[in-house]
């Protein structure tokens, strides 16, 4: 769907000028991001870095001891495997432990999407749009490297890069397919768990790529939203009855998040949005649209509130009777 554009106001013009954003974007943020001033301030600072211990190879406590002995300062987070890097004497991607696959540099929000998927040993799981493999490797470790993860990536170069990351992390339960995610429902298989971390307009990661302040356009939102609708329809058909579909993006745009999930609820019967313990409630209204009240169970993560990249997570129990 087309991105909804709101009229400029004195506030949006002033903030856009102060923080060097396009005005249309700030006008939209004022509609769906709480405490926009704090948010824009936060986006000026480098985001907190997180690492995820690869429990296939090392326990988080042991990793923490090793890295702290090299001068890193690390703090526990909501997830036992994930540590926030508070002080780094060198690049966190240049240590021996990194090369040995003892950890993966991954934002807490991405890890929460995997946590929401609640994978178990010996399950069959599909990760749609899987490259570079951060969520795939986290799922693999939660599954104790058993069962099967089908990881889909259409681009050969990215699929190959993903295979290197899986190798570094010592993951053996994965099958990489070079396939367009919108066609995943043609595989002829059903899965216990389906993860769709959909390609998005990346509004949530502006702090990592400040060029998005002005290069991001309403067309990006429209293109992504249309593709996300096709992808989630395909993903929904892959879930075994009673299985879970987690839909996530690193965008704040409702057209890429609540609108997509609300559309799916209307399209398919017997879907329940399960609540999650973190983040803030998803939107139940946007402009003149009113969504299912259950959309409040989806989750939004904001950099200035949750100290993560901007993220949206919906956990959908499919085929509930």
């Amino acid at each position: 769907m087309k991105a909804i554009i709101f009229p400029d106001s004195a506030e949006s013009s002033s903030l856009a000028g102060k923080y060097n954003y396009d005005r249309w974007l700030v006008s939209r943020f004022l509609e769906y991001v709480p405490d926009v001033h704090d948010f824009l301030d936060k986006m000026e600072k480098p985001p907190t870095q997180y690492i995820r211990a690869n429990t296939i190879k090392i326990e988080p406590d042991e990793l923490k001891i090793r890295l702290e002995s090299k001068g890193f300062s690390l703090k526990e987070t909501l997830l036992p495997e994930v540590l926030a890097v508070q002080k780094a004497p060198m690049s966190i991607g240049a240590t021996t432990d990194y090369m040995l696959g003892h950890y993966y540099i991954q934002d807490l929000s991405s890890c929460l999407a995997v946590d929401a998927l609640d994978v178990k040993e010996k399950q069959t799981v599909i990760d749609i749009a899987a490259a570079p493999g951060g969520k795939t490797t986290f799922m693999a470790q939660r599954m104790k490297d058993t069962g099967c993860i089908v990881a889909i990536e259409p681009n050969e170069r990215r699929a190959r890069a993903m295979s290197f990351n899986l190798a570094r992390c010592g993951v053996s339960n994965t099958c990489i397919l070079q396939l367009d995610g919108t066609k995943a429902d043609k595989l002829g298989m059903k899965f216990d768990r389906v993860l769709l971390d959909a390609p998005c307009s990346c509004e949530g990661v502006i702090a990592k790529d400040v060029t998005r302040k002005t290069s991001h356009t309403p067309t990006d939102v429209e293109v992504c939203s249309d593709r996300q609708q096709r992808m989630i329809e395909s993903a929904a058909k892959l879930v075994k009855p009673g299985g879970l579909l987690v839909y996530s993006t690193c965008s704040f745009a409702p057209e890429e998040n609540e609108v997509i999930v609300d559309w799916l609820l209307r399209k398919f019967d017997n879907i329940v949005i399960e609540p999650l313990d973190y983040g803030t409630n998803g939107l139940t209204r946007f402009n003149d649209m009113v969504f299912s009240d259950d959309l409040k169970n989806t989750r939004r993560l904001y950099p200035h509130i949750h100290d993560t990249t901007g993220f949206f997570i919906a956990r959908l129990r499919m085929g509930v009777t």
Partner: protein
């Protein structure tokens, strides 16, 4: 890659190789498949039973974890060496190097004799070895230039590094 089950002859070769690397017991319960690259080379992959079942219905671009190459003999890959060091019993085909050499190996440099903390008296020249750091973690795969205690010669490169975990970082760049 195209994947298939190993032939009986290949299984025998693999069992011998896994025994050599001290991991035969671990792999007794594991499923191995052979993946053929476009150039015809054969990669040995550890695969879960569920992944194998899925791969029979799909056309995988990549399957499982490549633990080594199979030509006339088996040669462990980096992830294979890492797995062997974690699950196997260290034997004559493993050498341990000091912290300084660990850093150098991770830059792709060869191993000097005086940096070897532990090696076997019975290892031959021109043998493949897994290079361990002082924590017994695999940091690379090498080939001996000398036999037995001659590997400890001071001031000489005694093990050629063929692959090292630093490659993961260099490939990212």
């Amino acid at each position: 890659m195209k994947y298939r089950m190993p032939t009986r002859q290949e299984k025998t070769l693999l069992n011998r190789a896994l025994d050599k690397w001290g991991v035969f017991e671990y792999f007794k319960e594991k499923l191995l498949m052979i993946g053929h690259e476009d150039d015809g080379s054969a990669k040995i992959c550890i695969v879960s039973p569920e992944s194998r079942a899925a791969s029979s219905k799909l056309e995988p671009y990549f399957l499982g974890l490549v633990i080594g190459d199979l030509k006339k003999q088996f040669a462990p890959s980096l992830p294979g060496a890492d797995l062997f060091a974690r699950v196997g019993k260290s034997n004559e085909y493993y050498i341990t190097v000091d912290e300084n050499a660990e850093k150098l190996v991770l830059y792709g440099r060869d191993v000097m004799g005086n940096s070897i903390l532990q090696c076997s008296d019975t290892i031959d020249e021109n043998e493949l070895v897994i290079i361990l750091n002082s924590r017994n973690e695999s940091i690379g795969v090498g080939r001996t230039r000398f036999a037995g205690s001659s590997l400890l010669q001071k001031g000489k490169i005694t093990v050629t590094t063929l692959a090292d975990a630093g490659q993961y970082l260099r490939d990212e760049g």
